[in-house]
Amino acid sequence: MKRVVVPVILIGLLAFYIIEKPLFEAYSQKIPGTPVTFDMTPIEGGTFEMGSSSSLNSDEKPVHKVKVDPFWMGTHEVTWDAFELFLDKNYELAISEEPIGEIVDGLTRPSLPYLDMTFGMGKEHKPAIGMTQYGAIQFCHWLYLKTGFFYRLPTEAEWEYAARAGTNTKYFFGDDSANLDVYAWTAENSDGMTQMVAKKKPNPWGLYDIYGNVLEWTADQYDPEFYKNSPANNPLNPAESLYPRTVRGGSFKTPAEEISSAKRFFNDPKWKQLDPQIPKSQWWFPEAPFIGLRLVRPLNPPSPEEINAYYTAAPIADY
């Protein structure tokens, strides 16, 4: 009897320890029941100068000091390999080696798009594209139900902090856009389409394609004036209307010169004009084959109530 009980207690303690104090290291997240994995990179917390004084864009000013808490960030942009499992429950069921469980089964899934949302650019190792911010958050919700870890979108501040990787220059490698070709897919070198992730060099903190390839969702409402009154700790401008919301990093369609760590992009209702239905899809932008996402997982997750509130916020009707 004793011999049985001790290991059980040990395993229990170990599990408790892992949940309470996760090792803050790079890890590979397996999506349970499937062969799909994705990689997460630890980003130590710290303080940085957010914005740009030299930029011509007034919304990047004033430069202000911001502190962010530690988090993991997706080493890569989320690819179709993972996103399509979420997109189509029947596909998830077909791929999964075990039952997906009632809670995952009951999750609201995206409406299947009427268009080919890869826009002919392919799926394997290519960034998932065209999803709304709501769709991106619901993907995180699905991951939470699958893995038990709180994945979410980065705040603008977290994104810029991670992109800068300790630098104050326009790019994490300096100020000359000519060097961007080494690190990023932009209008100059992308051949007009998304590219497989991790084919270029990463930034100093190990993040691939943080510039270019696809724009990445953040959690924030876009407000050009926000930096004037930004909180100093973990700033977030909560999103209350569908447009404009902030996206970051530029895409395969963005000229290199327009990309920088500080550059703030935002979504546009035009991205949905090709949607023939009313209300328009809460899930898809049929004219934005350049918007994707990168995950964040905070080292210290909020309470289960806060997590639940984040995932279950009702979408705003779009028409």
Binding site: E84, Y91, L112, Y114, D116, G120, K123, I278, Y319
Partner: protein, 436 residues
Amino acid sequence: MKNTRRDFIKTSALATGGVLAANSFVIPGAYAAPETHLKLALIGCGGRGTGAVFQAMETGHPIKLVAMADAFRDRLDGSLKPILDKYGAEKVDVPEDRKFVGFDAYKNAIAEADVVILATPPGFRPDHFTEAVKQGKQIFMEKPVATDAVGIRKVLKAAEEAKAKKLNVVVGLQRHYQDNYRKTIAKIHAGEIGDIIGGQVYWNDGGVWVRPRKPEQTEMEYQMRNWYYFNWLCGDHITEQHVHNIDVANWVKKGYPIKAEGTGGRMVRTGKEFGEIFDHHTVQFTYEDGTVIHSECRHFPGAANRVDETFQGTKGTAYLSAGNHGVLTDYTGKKLYEHDRENNVNPYQQEHNELWAALVNGEYKFADAENGARSTMTSILGRYATYSGKVITMDEAINSEINLFPDTLAWDATPKLVPDADGFYPHAIPGKTVTV
């Protein structure tokens, strides 16, 4: 084609029973009375029909939505709310007695309007279109326009009548209103890549929505709610979606195939919630001049997507897609034409911009119904070929007497296709199933 405003008013008035004053098309202008709206009715209040009303309103012309019809009250209410929110009581006047619900609702709603949007599931289109033409209305109708040959013949007949009455008919094959298609195909027709001798058209993606069965539903209601998976309503995805790409082939070839052969089945989408439709079809369409166009459509999640059209000419190739692609290339690889993909007009909006401009000017400009019917028929020919496994001629197909439509439309009536004891529906078996 163009007739005068006076003729048009007369025609419309005659067709609607001669009540000119109450039902005038005359828009504020040189000699017209002010404050006259074109009265619009929406038949089929789903997402697409609601979207079409938005596009009509966005044209900026004086339009008033006056009636709505749907089989389901909840769909009607769900459609009216965003329209009213967005455009307000001045442009939206649908009181309780002009909300029509049920299988016969369309007749009453059509009667209230000058212009109708027909956007129910396609199985109803032949009867709705016939009625709208009979009542002398101007028409926007969604694709496809039928789900079997019996329906196609009705649409072709009504299309003739619409022409005789000079009723504008726009069909929602919106690639015809999309600049990259118009410009690129005009160049193909001008001979820039020689004669077209082959082509491939695709709609390969992951599939569409499913609406789960609810215990309180009759079989009729369930099929009406989950309509995509039942052929009398949908026509299978080769018709409901892939008609777009097949229609492009017909457009490029300036004609319709004379025969088809193909293969299809249910490979990955086999659950009972998926009714009777196949999850893949691949068809070879042979045209009068011997050209063979390969058509492929599938709903396979996890597989590669492809929704586009390619053609080979004697002097070069063409690539087209709804993502504003339009590229002509010669056989040395030199680009002869490349459509600018930026800043293109939304084709769903363009359909209405052009239709309503004609309507307010009293012009007769659009007779899309016949091509809509013949391209829909081409897709049905493809289905007849994949379902039967046989080589089917267009002649045989269009004369098929197999009628998918229920004998009686009522919530307690039984559709022709019913599930077995386990809830699964019989589906076509190539080699066994008879389609013509």
